[in-house]
Amino acid sequence: MTAEIVPVAPAVETPFRRFVAEFCASRLAVAGLVGLSIILLVAIFAPWIAPQDPYDLRQLDVLDGRLPPLSKSMGGKTYWLGTDDQGRDMLSGIMYGLRTSLLVGVGSSFFAMLIGMAAGLTAAYVGGAIETLIMRIVDIQLSFPAILIALILLAVLGQGVDKIMIALVAVQWAYYARTVRGTALVERRKEYIEAARCLALGKSRIVFRHLLPNCLPPLIVVNTVLVAGAIALEATLSFLGLGLPITKPSLGLLIANGFAYMLSGKYWISFFPGVALLATIVCINLVGDQLRDVLNPRLQK
């Protein structure tokens, strides 16, 4: 025989639609998302939309150096945001710099996430001495400020895109590891994991199909914060002269480049790259902030 069929509650809304609706409840967050999309597009398509190639020395004219915004070049072109000391169009420089900054920030956060996720999951699922070891390292590392660790590493490694990414990954993996382990420990104790074990499912199946997907939401939030942090940290290190080489100018380097001209009132060489950097970080943080509120189970009733 069969038990009587119980009607299922009408699906009022899917989880995705609810997520979208809650996210859109904040106009600021939507603005941040739109801004971020534009910045990403500019960074990706910089070589096609920038007025000039700032790396191509043949396109530069030193006589055009340090022109204020909206000046005309010798060739009749308009420098919307002025030029730097080498006569480089600031607008183009910023577009290319954005590309470098985003590449370094997003790229290093991605690798840091992979390493941190593996370490955190291992610690949570294996436990014992391995967990103690991993978490001690994480604890120690997290009790020291990121900039200090990056500073030392760069002092040791030297300059270069790869070097700075290594430094950023080394700084950030611990945040991911701590987040993943924290969530995984909570999820691991839940009954659905016990149920999976009771059904004699394999260990890797339990970890990757049952445990991992449920650890992702807090990771997404941490990820936005850390991408913004990585971009800011890279800019700071480049500004201090320890980050990227002159041949690969990121936003931080552009700003540092303008520092010398600041006191003589030529503000635009530092100001506009700074605005671009600020806009990028603000947009990421706006999105991340709303994600944090929407995905936080403790604030949901």
């Binding site: 299922v8 509650a9 699906a11 009954e191 659905y192 149920a195 009771c198 059904l199």
Partner: protein, 334 residues
Amino acid sequence: MSDAPPMLALDGISQRFVKRLDVAARIANLLGAKLKDEVVHAVDRVDLAVRQGEVVGLVGESGCGKSTLGRIAAGILAPSEGRRRWRGKTVAEMPAAEARAVELKVQMIFQDPFASLNPRLRVEDIVGEAPAVHGIVAGGERDAYVAELLRRVGLDPGFRRRYPHQFSGGQRARVGIARALAVKPEFLVCDEAVAALDVSIQAQVLNLFMDLRADLGLTYLFISHDLGVVEHLSDRVAIMYLGRFVEIAPAEEIFARPNHPYTAALLAGIPRLDARKRRFEPVKGEIPSPLNPPPGCHFHPRCPHAIPRCRVEAPALKAIAPGHWSACHLNDGK
């Protein structure tokens, strides 16, 4: 019938959770602090045998170790001591394939209808994953198999592509039951399986358990703090207090003639529909911490009939009538 070994037997099962002193604590000890390892005896030398087709109820208050014992019975937790036997054979000594088959024969139904279902899987995957992995059902037949299981537990198979959060608490409990049934178990361990449900939904699920028992010939270990529920469903009832069994007897017997003072206190304490404007007369005292249980009989500080012997010697379970076992020194005087 009585010669056959019990379906599932737990012999001398103990479960200890130990928190050892770390270096810092040992140094503190050198300085004069008197710290010891923290040992929790969650389950303390318990024997339990469940016969085929039987429903055994396991009753106790929070911290008495009933959930731990349930997890040991279901094979999720390995006991610190003791043997788990399936139809007479010790599971730990079986070859891997046979042990895995036994693992599937014993399934568990969980308490929390929210936490017990993976929120990121569709119902068809929650129910269909294990039978597909273990080759119980072929790939092409999985859909029909899941639909049949859902119908069996009273859910519309049309909703098998939905996620758990789209169901109510009672429906989730049904999904959990379908998931367990999917690997064709013979023995179900139900750990507070209806405790989180509303009264009207609880009745539906209890009825479903009774139907499944009748249709599939399932055997149950039914764990609950709710005496009413256990009384309704069980053939035999075991009462647990701080890691030990204090009384085991057929259900009718134990509710009619409770022997152990703790059982009597429990029965007196439960509110009943037919008892109006009664004066509640409670048993004294708190449930002691399992970290630091009282010596002798664990119940003696709260027991109205305690004698000096109860303070020093832990009473053993003794038969006081056919099938009726109780662990109380007072029975020796009779």
